[in-house]
């Protein structure tokens, strides 16, 4: 059984999705989905454990040898990602039943869970597979389920947001497909491991450069790198709250993973960073993204939009760390992927609880919530502090590693700019704090009660994880460092 873990990781949620149709009651479907997601979490923990002790796992689908068959290749990097995705999915799903009861009509609940599981399966698939074309297939499943999930939002603007995402997402996916096609044309293989061996022979051709450019732009669209981020804010803001919590914590991480996989494993480092001015490009765009998106976040009146812009800014940090092209830099990026998933998962879930109670995510409606929903608001405050990067939270760990990596490269002014950029987070987090704690409650909202336990438990699980992994950093730092070292081919 243990041998088949890599495929089980993907196939369990994938097969479970249609099975939902056979269950009659939405509540049962929810339980089923929760169990399936929990199973994936279990599998990914086992996988990570295996990879950390005995190295990369190669799994051939149906026993067909690569490069003819499809191969799943689990190393430290994707085992780490699998864990993040399945963990967040499970915690978020815990609150799903309560949350969607108010946001999605009852007859669509089953559909919702099917889409959710499909989305989970495809994200896990993108990460687990070692085959470039397989990546594209899962990417499409993931995108299609995402469009539908976003369109389920109760606000009519959800349709428009979904359509926007559809257009941008399709362009991105097409670019990736073109890139992969060109690579196949030049090398005759789709297996990543194989590609990495054969690409150097042809790497000076214009076709390979073109393929590379298509893949990078396509992936950057998916990861909402500034200025390709336009689809993200609306999609996050108008999707059902649970979907936002799930996507904000995982979806962009998957795209960042693809970026790392393509530039470090498929193409090698020297190709990605010496032949093209990728480093400068990513540092500048990352930095501009941090400042522009953080500033935009300050001016939002809808908290979901506010945190959506903050997510774009956080991607900027990941890109800066990534483009340092050093073990330390990549470690910082991987750490931040893990940490940011915890932060945004907690924040958006807490927002979902607020939306459940007051039916709106407008900042003006948050007046007096500090008294009416003290436990939920405390979670938002701690999540916000983590976002700012206060010590003893995960945000601090990320920041420490990122600034260290930047200083190691000798880019002192960049270190200053990163820290200054993080101050913008103080401003937008504190706008929420002040509204919730200093303004008197609205007359219409005097009867608001604290969120139900089905929200509080997952929210505080994530909040406590924010603190726990900010204090005991062994797991996250070790795995991130090991993954980063193996990508650079440095033996630990």
């Amino acid at each position: 059984m243990l041998v088949h873990l890599p495929i089980l990781q993907v196939i369990v949620p994938l097969m479970a999705a249609p099975l939902c149709l056979f269950l009659s009651k939405p509540r049962l479907v929810w339980l089923f989905a929760l169990i399936v997601s929990g199973l994936s979490f279990l599998i990914s923990s086992l996988l990570l454990e295996q990879v950390m002790t005995s190295g990369t796992i190669v799994y051939e689908l149906g026993g067909w040898e690569a490069p003819w068959g499809i191969e799943y290749r689990i190393d430290q990097l994707n085992a780490f990602l699998l864990l993040i995705i399945s963990a967040i999915s499970t915690v978020v799903l815990f609150a799903a039943n309560t949350s969607i009861s108010k946001e999605i009509p009852e007859n669509k609940h089953t559909i919702f869970y099917i889409l959710y599981l499909l989305s989970l399966a495809s994200m896990l698939g993108i990460v687990a597979t070692g085959d470039a074309f397989n990546v594209f297939v899962f990417l499409e499943i993931s995108s299609l389920s995402a469009y539908a999930l976003i369109a389920l939002g109760e606000d009519r603007r959800a349709l428009w947001a979904s359509f926007q995402y559809l257009i941008m997402g399709t362009i991105g996916a097409t670019f990736i497909l073109i890139g992969i096609g060109l690579m196949y044309q030049m090398t005759g293989t789709l297996n990543m491991e194989d590609l990495s061996k054969r690409l150097p022979e042809v790497e000076q051709t214009r076709t390979v450069f073109t393929a590379f450019a298509f893949v990078i732009v396509g992936v950057c669209l998916k990861l909402a790198m500034f200025p390709l981020h336009l689809w993200l804010p609306n999609a996050y803001a108008y999707a059902p709250s649970i979907v936002t919590a799930f996507f904000a914590a995982t979806a962009t991480k998957v795209a960042v993973y693809l970026l790392i996989r393509f530039t470090f494993s498929v193409f090698d480092l020297s190709f990605s960073f010496t032949h093209l001015p990728l480093q400068l490009l990513f540092v500048v765009l990352g930095l501009v993204g941090i400042f522009v998106a953080s500033t935009a976040a300050i001016y939002q009146t809808n908290i979901k939009l506010l945190f959506a812009y903050s997510s774009i800014a956080q991607i900027g940090y990941m890109l800066v760390g990534y483009s340092m092209t050093s073990v330390a830099g990549l470690t910082a990026t991987l750490l931040h992927m893990f940490n940011h998933a915890l932060i945004k998962g907690a924040l958006f879930l807490a927002l979902a609880a607020v939306v459940y109670r007051i039916g709106s995510a407008q900042l003006s409606q948050f007046q007096g919530l500090g008294r009416q929903m003290p436990i939920t608001m405390a979670a938002i405050v701690i999540g916000g502090l983590s976002l700012i990067g206060v010590p003893l939270t995960v945000g601090f760990v990320s920041k420490w590693y990122l600034v260290m990596a930047v200083i190691q490269n000798g880019w002192w002014p960049l270190a200053v700019l990163i820290l200054l950029g993080s101050l913008l987070a103080v401003v937008y987090v504190w706008r929420i704090v002040e509204t919730a704690y200093f303004k008197p409650a609205l007359a219409s909202s005097e009867t608001i009660k604290e969120a139900p336990l089905s929200f509080l438990i997952p929210i505080w699980t994530l909040v406590l994880a924010n603190i726990y992994f900010g204090i005991d950093t062994r797991l996250s730092v070790q795995v991130a460092q090991a993954a980063s070292q193996s990508l650079f081919g440095v033996s630990p």
């Binding site: 206060v390 600034v403 820290l419 101050l423 103080v426 704690y437 204090i471």
Partner: protein, 489 residues
Amino acid sequence: MSLSLETMLQLSIILPLLATIGIVVTGRNPNLREAVTIATSLVLLYFVISLYQGLQQGESISVHWWELLPGLNVSFSIEPLGMLFALIAGFLWLITTIYAIGYMRSHEEQNQTRFYTCFAVAISSVMGIAFADNLFTLFIFYEVLTLSTYPLVTHAGTEKAKQGGRIYLGILISTSIAFFLLAVISTWFVAGTLDFKPGGVFESNVNKTVAGAILVLFIFGIGKAAIMPFHRWLPAAMVAPTPVSALLHAVAVVKAGVFTVLKVCVFIFGIDLLAILPSTQFLLYLAGASIILASLVAMRQDNLKARLAYSTVSQLGYITLGALLASQSGVLGSAMHIATHAFGKITLFFCAGAILVAAHKSNISEMRGLGRQMPITMVAFLIASLSIIGVPPTGGTWSKWYLLMGTIETEQLILMATLILSSLLNIAYLLPIPFHAFFSGDKTDTYSGGIKEAPLPSLIAICVTTVGCLILFIYPQPLYDLSNAILSK
């Protein structure tokens, strides 16, 4: 009790945190709640004094908690400077609690449970700062202190409190993240360690420009030391209830700032390196300018608390200046000034609160003749003022003496003149207040209705700290020994 010193060290940080549970649980019953606070502060004081005795006997006390990041530990140890800070904070917490009981009740403040809870968290982080064994640990508690005092500053919940809190948090968080954290990371990068070591952590051949730049980052980054131009948070924080202003903005928060400055100067840079860095001279003048400018601003304030706040900014400049002088006397004077200023300034704030509670006055111009109504308070105000100015028979004399010595030793004549000028300015903005309280005003005016002092607990607290100012003059030996041991260890 036969607790080991190591246990006491840890308990002095953990105990106030545990007390918060007791405070919240007993929140419904104010008497019980205050009893919890007082009991905790008594036990804390006992611990701190035991630790002090342990230190006197030459024991080395250190505790390692856990490794947060590879090579970066959260650990604690005791050395004279931290001991000094912990003693002051531990003792004055007890006194302030007694004062607060009188003040908060007669002022009928809301949310008193939250108030005492945050107070306890703040003290816990002060103990963490005092006993931190490395810069990393210190930084963590420094940030916790900022956050735990925010609800205290904004206690009133009004628009003005919100504004004040915004400036308070804005400046302290910004400076600590943008400069302090960068300085810490840079130190880690350049020196490879963040442990406090006598003589500093930098190699002797370190690039002077880099080290100088890091020093500037530290001095600006430690916003709690309120060096101009990052001093605005201090006057802004005066919207807090008076006990908060008293303990946090005369003792805990601001002293945590200058304590950190002193600690960085002595144990990260080491005074030998500090003396030859290119940026030291610039920072010395900046501290000097901060001293004079803040005094000048203080003269123009009519609100008593605002005047005291600017006076604090000025006095903090003394301590920073003493640390940057990088001489034996300078460090000695700085350390002593932490203690003497704490006693003097907390008395002044206590008096300001007493006046507010008993006479409902907060502007200096309305306090003429007040001495007839509140003689004890105004006498205490006079003595504390003398201590701030630095004349006998008060403790402030000694610290200013050594600071002046420091400027002479290092031949910083401009700074010497600065200190003297500042003392004159202190006289100009402090002494008129008690003077007018006793000698001006009509016999028939508002204050002729007999003696009406603040509630008894508050009055007791005022007397204790005033006597403290006097004792520090008559019997400064323990303070001197402790301060003198900082460099010799």
